[in-house]
Assembly symmetry: C2
Homo-oligomer: 357 residues x 2
Amino acid sequence: MEKNIAVIWGDCASPEIVTQAIRVLDRIGEKFGHTFNYTDVAMGGEAIDKYGDPLPQHELDKCLASDSVLLGAIGGPKWEGMAGDKRPEKGLLRMRAGMGLYSNNRPTKIWPQLAPASPLKAEIVAQGIDFVIVRELTGGVYFGDRQVNILESGEKQAVDLMPYAEYEIERIGRIGFDTAMKRRKKLCCVDKANVLETSRLWREVMHRLQAEYPEVEYSEMFVDNCAMQIVKNPSQFDVIVTENMFGDILSDEASMITGSIGMIPSSSLGQGTCGVYEPIHGSAPDIAGKDVINPTACILSVAMMLRFSFGMSAEADAIEKAVSDVLDQGLRTADNMSEGCTQLGCIAMGDAIVKAL
Amino acid sequence: MEKNIAVIWGDCASPEIVTQAIRVLDRIGEKFGHTFNYTDVAMGGEAIDKYGDPLPQHELDKCLASDSVLLGAIGGPKWEGMAGDKRPEKGLLRMRAGMGLYSNNRPTKIWPQLAPASPLKAEIVAQGIDFVIVRELTGGVYFGDRQVNILESGEKQAVDLMPYAEYEIERIGRIGFDTAMKRRKKLCCVDKANVLETSRLWREVMHRLQAEYPEVEYSEMFVDNCAMQIVKNPSQFDVIVTENMFGDILSDEASMITGSIGMIPSSSLGQGTCGVYEPIHGSAPDIAGKDVINPTACILSVAMMLRFSFGMSAEADAIEKAVSDVLDQGLRTADNMSEGCTQLGCIAMGDAIVKAL
Ligand SMILES: CC(C)[C@H](C(=O)O)[C@@H](O)C(=O)O
Ligand SMILES: CC(C)[C@H](C(=O)O)[C@@H](O)C(=O)O
């Protein structure tokens, strides 16, 4: 097969990991007889520097024309404190909206080799941590209107609107159920239905979908309780589906309990098969240019791209197996180094994974 | 001194803990020469059963007329699935609004005797977990308008509004700074200023206040990052100030890392000295009537009431010391029982604490 991939190199230490991810893609191409073509796209800080805009339309157009997008991580101190539309994150939000990427999927899984790195006690980790958070990504308070009103007293009042329409809930709810069907068939919808009208609409729509998926064990949980349960008893979860803001908070909390956020990839998909794949970690300005950053999350993002956008399961399996083999060999980067292991830099870790392929 | 306390006995297992908390209050009265008068108030499930309303005005009026309110916990399976205004939680929300309780304070502290019960690794716990979350309690998406619109397509759209006015931020921000001044002088404002207009107004107001508190080391953190940091490195926090919904989520997560939510009290205060004091845990329907529930969080809520509403620090110290002594004696309830300790029921634990006074 031939696939066209838009590559967002990203800011700070990000190009270092993207470089390794592309080496892995090329190795997969070689091994399985595919051709991957790359088109550079500027987004975030890089695009602000070049175009004064974190995602100009011509760059978004390149993403839309691609078969999928590989993204490192954007932002950094250089662009902090910039006004509204000149913030790197604005590029990310505009890309999600512009590409209609309403479904964000973040696997929360402990690699057995890295289990000691979890901040949770060994007894809890031993019960197994392997769940997926399906986060709605183009709705809710992220994309509702915002206002600043002047009150009678003369002072300001800011208002953020959190809207959800039935179709927005239905399409992400369906992805929640479909994801559960491919896994342990358990789905938990997380909301705040004792307070929010949007959450009550979520439940209404989810109950409708539930009838279509009789095999799935469906449950509901308040977001505050979920924030507790992720720490207390994470083995109870298989798939969590939730709205944009709750997904943002819970998926970061969940990634932390794995103890190795340098290992967690993510996918963002919409109606078609063109998605954005990126590590969940940031651009790591403090270690930029030092060949220290862990390229694995970005490499595993490539595996997700192959699996979800290109239907290349064997290829994705090969990458995941290579990562596991390298961990078995005791090879680590600085972020998850432990006693008795060998510490590698970013390039050497890329080498090791390519070699294991 | 003579004080009038409104007592909300609460639902399910709640009256069992309130009974013990009142025994402790009476013992304090005896020992320090105070008189505490009690007025029963029905709220939540009890009020729905009696009046068909989770907080009728005449019951709220009793709270408003009191010097402070002692609350157990409300709700239970009996009232689940009831429609909007017949939900026990509505009583709680109406009480917060009706009494103007804009400031919720939840200490997140590990009792050294209970450190092994934390789900976090011993190394992390050993660094110290002792912070306070100051949660704004009468604004934001909890009290904004809600709508259900019918879209052109005929389907529903729900909208929740999240408003914050400058004065609402300023008064809670000030409590954040004042709380920090009485502690380790570190304040972290948690928000999502890269997305929300309300968060940007929070920062604007907080920066103004910062100038008045030059001694406080002030920082800002995004809520998703904070959800990670609470698990990864909780010792970094002294005081966190945040809006209503973020405070709900983060304070539940934080309480869980202490490993003993049966030990955590809370205060909710407004302009005056009349506040509501309650354990953070729920009404524990599964163990109702079994003399198993831990009364300590409710007893420590009494200590907070004495300290914050009545200015009785020595009395509050005495209760906290009694709780600590009882833990030192190896006395535990079922929820935090560990090897080598003696397990007590709710009443026996109340006895032990009263005796230690
Ligand atoms: C950068 C920020 C706007 C973004 C979000 O909140 O969605 C990030 O936290 C994420 O989770 O991808
Ligand atoms: C019961 C519910 C409405 C309430 C809240 O969300 O404020 C509870 O979770 C709390 O934290 O006191």
